[in-house]
């Protein structure tokens, strides 16, 4: 697929379809029902919902939590693929920018698969075919037997350059981390590239959102490093383009969780994350904080899509909501499998 940057955007059409789909996502009542079900029941519940096609297609090959997970991934991919098919002009560009994160996911999955000598089928099941990489390229990735071949298969994409650079380090140390970082860098490097110089208000907000995505990624990494106490140079994970930290800040703050929290409180995100930070300080754990990050983003995107109906915002709101739904159902199914109680599962869910 090439980037379609010519011609007008068809906001009306895409927005109408997206809103209709947004309305059909699971609501709070559905989740309440889901948390009380076993995996088998969840599978049956999903069969009667939007996930029918995927459940039927995969039902004979998988069962239990795996079935639910793969069906979720496929449905997510199908939905996002639709978005890219509908959108024209700038709207396509904006949508693809964010959805390329699934390309990054697929590339990472392949590299991990090669690293751990996984079967081709296993890797393929974990693919989320929602990004811009076409069927042919993904197949070539799957066929790759070595890192070199996989990287060669990515020639001409945004991942090729950083990966080639990281290959040497990988061969020296035999660690996967530099390659995974290279994939992230490839993705985030392109995220803010070539955006219009003087965007209208809605686009400006979208760009702000992308920037926030980078900030939150940095933030998450920083908190994880700070709380795990691992001896890793945080600068290795730093992603450029956010407005919250620069590289030096991150290195300094990652060793000091309290200072990090104070820094976030003073930032533009402070208001939304206040409650989450309080929870973090009361040592309720990282999971709660990360969920609060997600919830804050989701609420914000919903507001935006009401305020700017003919812009990229409703599409973005839908993408986020769908991602959260998939995460939620996966959490319920996996939680049930692991024998967690209702309350414990509800804590994992991000519901508005």
């Amino acid at each position: 697929m090439s980037i379609q940057n010519q011609g007008g955007s068809n906001y009306e059409y895409v927005t109408a379809r997206v809103r209709s789909r947004r309305a059909r996502l699971f609501d709070e009542d559905d989740y309440r029902k889901l948390t009380r079900m076993g995996t088998g029941e969840i599978a049956r519940f999903m069969e009667e919902s939007e996930y029918e096609t995927e459940m039927n297609a995969l039902g004979s090959r998988h069962s239990g939590g795996d079935l639910i997970e793969y069906a979720l991934n496929r449905n997510l991919a199908a939905n996002f693929e639709d978005l890219l098919r509908w959108a024209d002009g700038r709207l396509y560009d904006y949508t693809a920018r964010y959805l390329r994160k699934f390309d990054a996911w697929n590339v990472k999955t392949t590299l991990r698969g090669i690293y751990s000598d996984a079967e081709r089928g296993e890797v393929e099941d974990d693919f989320i075919r929602a990004g811009e990489l076409g069927e042919a390229r993904l197949n070539r990735l799957l066929d790759a037997a070595s890192m070199e071949e996989a990287i060669e298969a990515l020639r001409g994409t945004m991942f090729h350059g950083p990966l080639t650079a990281a290959l040497e380090i990988y061969e020296e140390h035999g660690e996967l981390v530099p390659l995974e970082n290279a994939v992230d860098r490839g993705f985030y490097g392109r995220l803010l590239e070539g955006l219009p110089e003087e965007p209208d208000r809605a686009t400006e907000l979208y760009i702000e959102f992308l920037r926030a995505e980078i900030d939150f990624r940095n933030l998450r990494n920083a908190f994880r490093l700070a709380y795990s106490g691992a001896d890793i140079d945080p600068a290795d994970y730093y992603i450029d383009g956010g407005r919250l930290f620069d590289e030096g800040d991150l290195r300094q703050l990652a060793s000091n969780p309290d200072e990090l929290a104070a820094r976030v409180r003073d930032s533009p995100y402070g208001e939304d994350l206040d409650a989450a930070l309080d929870g973090l300080e009361r040592a309720e754990g990282l999971v709660g904080f990360e969920n609060a990050l997600d919830a804050a983003l989701l609420e914000y995107s919903d507001q935006l899509s009401n305020r700017y109906p003919l812009s990229v915002c409703p599409v973005l709101g839908y993408v986020l909501a769908k991602e959260r739904e998939v995460d939620n159902i996966r959490a319920v199914a996996r939680g049930r499998e692991a024998g967690l109680g209702e309350d414990e599962i509800s804590e994992e869910l991000v519901i508005l």
Partner: protein, 83 residues
């Protein structure tokens, strides 16, 4: 080019007849109204088709909303009878 416009303008200003006769003006008015209606329907139609693609029950509502701007043309038609 400029001279041509000048000559045309002098001709128009000097002749006793109006540049655009009443019936022609009325026709223009209706035409412009129809153009406006068409432009409005473009957006609504796109959204309606999107909604119908997701949910067939929206067909009736979509159709009605799509042709609503058509009232513009009907109102503009009044001009024809006034002239």
């Amino acid at each position: 080019m400029l001279e041509l416009i000048m000559t045309f303008a002098t001709f128009v200003l000097q002749s006793s007849e109006p540049a655009i006769p009443p019936t022609a003006a009325a026709a223009l008015a209706v035409g412009l109204a129809a153009f406006g209606a068409g432009y409005a329907e473009r957006g609504i139609g796109a959204a309606a088709v999107g909604a119908i693609a997701e949910d067939d029950d929206m067909f009736g509502r979509g159709l009605i909303l799509t042709v609503l701007p058509e009232t513009l043309v009907i109102l503009a038609l009044v001009v024809i009878f006034v002239v």
